[in-house]
């Protein structure tokens, strides 16, 4: 990447790496209608930021820990029958946000910028963050490939998959935890409020262009990577914020793809 400023090269590498890791998970989120679950995990990561700052821990690790803890809590809540998951999420989502904002306000450290957590700062990506994106990303991608067929079969028809010998608790639990890790790592780049767009929008854009689940995942990854490049280019040229610019590029792809699909059907 000759000619690129190092911070731009790091931003591109992190955004593209994350886009490719997140895309297949995003497809499963769309199939399993888990967008709200993802939002809740993202809010929980704000609490992780606060805890990390208060206890002077590695921020990336404390954010991952908070998101994974929220995922485990959701798995436990999923076993009760009194409340629908939607209501549980409505409760946890806002509780986590309120707690996170209060915790950060109480800490009042000099260097805490709430906006950078809410919307991310792709140009502030460090070499250490890159190591997380590529190290963690490789592990998550390998696990996704390994669990892909069980996850697709469970998304398609849970009883059929279970009758055919898949244990739904194992595959889903692993997926929920992977989702928490990806959200926690992606938060730094696109922020808490936009992180789910990183997962969902490329999947939505890929849907009309794909005939099979696998092709949808690959097309989503390609669209996400292109959007990362386009968004960072937009941001550099017009001085727009990085994360929102990437999401805007993804949304444009989705709009084009959905419009084209609507046009073809006529």
């Amino acid at each position: 990447m000759a000619g690129l400023e190092p911070f731009v090269a790091r931003a591109l590498a992190a955004a593209i790496g994350l886009a490719i890791v997140a895309a297949p998970l995003g497809c499963i989120v769309v199939w399993r209608r888990m967008a709200y679950v993802g939002e809740t995990l993202a809010q929980a990561s704000l609490l992780g930021v606060a805890l990390g700052l208060a206890l002077k821990l590695n921020l990336t690790l404390s954010v991952i820990a908070a998101a994974v803890a929220a995922a485990l809590l959701l798995i436990a809540f999923g076993r009760q029958k009194l409340l629908a998951l939607d209501s549980v999420l409505g409760l946890m989502h806002h509780a986590a946000l309120a707690l996170g904002v209060i915790a950060i306000a109480v800490l009042k450290g000099p260097s805490i910028d709430l906006m950078s957590y809410l919307f991310g700062d792709v140009f502030a990506v460090t070499a250490n963050d890159l190591a997380w994106v590529f190290g963690g990303g490789t592990i998550v991608l390998a696990l996704t490939v390994w669990l892909w067929r069980p996850l697709v079969r469970l998304s398609l028809h849970e009883d059929l998959a279970t009758a055919e010998g898949i244990d739904p608790r194992v595959a889903r639990g692993a997926f929920d935890i992977m989702l928490a890790v990806v959200i926690a790592v992606a938060m730094k780049i696109v922020g808490i409020l936009l992180v789910m767009a990183f997962l969902i929008v490329p999947a939505v854009a890929a849907r009309p262009l794909a005939a099979t689940p696998e092709r949808m995942a690959v097309i989503a990854a390609a669209i996400a990577a292109l959007s990362a490049i386009a968004g960072i280019g937009l941001s550099l040229n017009f001085d727009t914020p990085g994360g929102p610019s990437i999401v805007l590029a993804m949304t444009s792809f989705a709009a084009l793809s959905l419009l084209a699909a609507g046009w073809m059907k006529r």
């Binding site: 199939w31 067929r149 059929l160 009758a163 055919e164 849907r207 696998e214």
Partner: protein, 283 residues
């Protein structure tokens, strides 16, 4: 979890057995064998004291009113749900092909028939085509699953079950999304598959008419097994009449007698059995 052989005759000794049990296949080991199943849900006994055996080459039809626990019993036999008490034995040689009741694919997931039939099954494209022809759904393999009709979807689901090379086929309300003519065709297909592949078949239905005419053995479920046996015997039992009404019993008895020809019936049969009976008499 114990397997008590003395329970084998419990269908006949509970005082509600309705006629001779289908004995022809009784020598073979059962493909699945359940004893004393009990399940409690939401403070009530959903399933109690249920015994089931299914053997190769027989169609066992499970009937009962809505909420009788039919789907729950099937899920227990498949291992999707665990009973609170009782035992289920599936010998290691038993391979189950399952056709679930409702299969509405979310349009958010793209899925061709061919991909669906190879997903986690290990079938080749040739195997898929051959099996699709066997179930009468040839030339659907490149179509999207979501674009198929109710009958085509059922056939593709049966194809998936067959590609797992089962000896026991379990179908939960296979005709619920199919019109009457399609329903008869579907049950003909199931009968042919049973013969050509020597399958044991467990069918769930709330529609007594066509289904019972094709069953070797009927299990009447209403929380417990009210009665069981050959269809014509079950139809005459007092338990069955109490559950489904006298008209239904008459319709079934007459229909079963004359099931070698087709009736030109339209509309939902299960809801209007008296007119079905009328038609049958005229025919």
């Amino acid at each position: 979890m114990t397997h008590d052989h003395s329970h084998h005759t419990s269908h006949h000794t509970d005082g509600k057995a309705c006629g001779a049990e289908h004995r022809a296949a009784a020598e073979q080991p059962a493909l699945v064998s359940a004893r004393g199943l009990y399940l409690r849900r939401n403070g009530r006994d959903l399933i109690s004291n249920v015994d089931v055996d299914i053997r190769a080459g027989e169609i066992v039809t499970l009937i009962g009113p809505n909420g009788a626990g039919k789907s729950t019993l099937v899920k227990m036999l498949l291992g999707i749900e665990q009973p609170d008490k009782g035992s289920i034995i599936r010998p290691p040689t038993t391979r189950i092909g399952y056709v679930p009741q409702r299969f509405e694919i979310d349009r958010a997931m793209p899925m061709t028939v061919n991909r669906f039939l190879t997903l986690g099954v290990g079938a080749t494209r040739d195997g898929v085509e051959t099996t699709l022809r066997e179930v009468g759904a040839a030339r659907t393999s490149d179509q999207q699953l979501a674009s198929l009709s109710g009958g085509e979807t059922q056939r593709v689901l049966i194809a998936r079950a067959l590609l797992r090379n089962p000896n026991l086929l379990v179908l939960d309300e296979p005709a619920s999304a199919v019109d009457y003519a399609g329903e008869a065709d579907l049950y003909d297909l199931i009968g042919r598959l049973k013969d050509s592949r020597n399958l044991g078949v467990l069918l769930v239905s709330h529609d007594l008419h066509v289904v019972m005419a094709r069953a070797d053995r009927v299990l009447c479920l209403n929380g417990h097994i009210c009665c069981s046996g050959r269809p014509e015997a079950v139809a005459q039992s007092s338990e069955y009449v109490r559950m489904f009404g006298l008209e239904a019993a008459k319709a079934l008895a007459v229909y079963h007698h004359q099931h070698d020809h087709r009736h030109d019936l339209s509309g939902a049969l299960g809801q209007d059995l008296s007119s079905a009976l009328h038609d049958t008499k005229e025919a």
